[in-house]
Symmetry: C2
Subunit: 338 residues, 2 copies
Amino acid sequence: MATIRDVASLAGVSRATVTRALQEPDKVSPARLSRVKEAIRVLGYRPNMLSQTFRKNQARTIVVLAPNLANPFFSKVIAGIVAAADERDFRVLVGATDGSVSKEFDFVRMVESRLADGIIQMNPFTLSERNAVLPHQHVPAVSVAGVPGTPYSCVRIDNRAAAKECILHLAASGHQKIGIVTGPTHNSNTMVRLEGVKAGLEEAGLSYNPNLVREGDFRMLSGLQATESLMQDGPDPKPTAIFCMNDEMALGAIRALHTLNLRVPEDVSIVGFDSLDFSAFFMPPLTTVEQPGYDMGVSSANILADIIEGVSAGQESHDVVLPYRFIIRQSTAPVRVD
Amino acid sequence: MATIRDVASLAGVSRATVTRALQEPDKVSPARLSRVKEAIRVLGYRPNMLSQTFRKNQARTIVVLAPNLANPFFSKVIAGIVAAADERDFRVLVGATDGSVSKEFDFVRMVESRLADGIIQMNPFTLSERNAVLPHQHVPAVSVAGVPGTPYSCVRIDNRAAAKECILHLAASGHQKIGIVTGPTHNSNTMVRLEGVKAGLEEAGLSYNPNLVREGDFRMLSGLQATESLMQDGPDPKPTAIFCMNDEMALGAIRALHTLNLRVPEDVSIVGFDSLDFSAFFMPPLTTVEQPGYDMGVSSANILADIIEGVSAGQESHDVVLPYRFIIRQSTAPVRVD
DNA sequence: CTGTTAGCGCGTTCAT
DNA sequence: ATGAACGCGCTAACAG
């Protein structure tokens, strides 16, 4: 592999001239410039980026931390991040943490060791835990799809308002017994959305009943199981509607109801959260909250790039709240009057 | 940020000793070792990986090229790649190509410029096109979920046999008119699976009718549209079964049939391909070919790492064929006898 | 076992 | 406009 030296000697100039020819061509005489270009062509010279990166002490690389790469909502966000990063000449490294704190820490060390310049965190910040890896000194970071109160920059929607709107929609349709399938109890998004649920119930003049709540893990199977539990072991009368804290669990819920010979939405209404592409094609199409995942990815990448490039101080942390959209499809209907 | 020099001077040793203390601790006397460790602790020293990477001239990074990050099957493969790469101390860079050849080329240049060590390509190699970016001199590469005949290492399933099995399953259930929804016509996987379709039809004593074939793009909407076209504009009698070349399109097909008031599988049987998690939860659960996406990711990452590390010559290219599994669920049934 | 020396490939002075 | 010289942080070769 040809180096800058080979180019210089073939062109009969100094290495500095080659560098200049590449970076500030107008500061090089036309004659030498063309000689250099020719030499580059002949040798098939490619600047060693590893060296450049080392010399400039920045990798132009950001790390995306995802608890679970299989989650399609995260895929959407990543797509946005990759697009925006590419635009600003940053590479994107994927970090699958599987929810492990030690893995997260490995990635923080990567930016400490300069192998990456910053982190985008998809796992919501947990206010209760003391051992959060982020924020971390000298580690530019942005939280995406997180919660208010995150002690560093954050791009999100108003989860509380969105969840509240879901409940109000159901209540307006006459539903009085509303089952809730949450994410993991300690998850901040679960907590915030649950606040919204309670606010919605209160505003609708309904009471919050913990017996109508089941913990899921944001995956389909848990939505299925939670729903079975709700409809079989739950208090009577059974819920006529279920709010699931993401679409995957909502699809699992619909499946469970089908198995129990209950129709959606005639017997039970279902509301999801996230708006996966699949959800519009499901039967029935799912009523859900659309998070602008791609845009959230774009926004978070740009904010992180700003911090890394020093455009943003990095001290004052942003809290960007993007608009969500509540989409009413066919999985919800007025409560049946028997 | 403390450098190795700071550590050396604080510990009162040479830089080389610090390096050794970090890499071959047993070759350093216990006394100095502890002095060095203490200095590292005090200074909070982290080796500059950028420098290491530069010095060793390898980034320990692989690039994954995906035409579309939103495709859940690719997400599965990526998850496997990330897990295996992590195991072998490689980082994973995601490259969204959007099917653009020039973007692919950018990533090839990244490995030429040493910013990455190799490439995993998810876009199948196209035999017909002459301007394929890969294989490329000095660019270790592995194709995953590709086709036989790929001129570099490849991890795949036997698409032809799998597609054939789908057709034979339908034929055995009495279906004579079988609609086909393909991927993009020029896509190699489409071509190979179509071969399997033809082989299956022939073995079943059925003829191949191009009028029963529609081109899709592997996305849900195209499956929906293709199915509408098949059931409305297609030749009579209408198909009693449709084979879709991936699950997303199959879900779109089911949706279309539902809108047309046709039941699945009573009126029309549907077979998919890939086995997404969603497909088992759909109504009805989808009969499909399960590709071991995660394992394919793991395998491809290991092969690439072998090539990069020189374990494998890189000259002789592997062609690893992993087993698929044909899963019969409830979207297929014997043809109805009127 | 240890320190000295010599680069890796490049960008960046600083003279000229 | 150009080249010589230095150094980024680290590892590897050699001598001791």
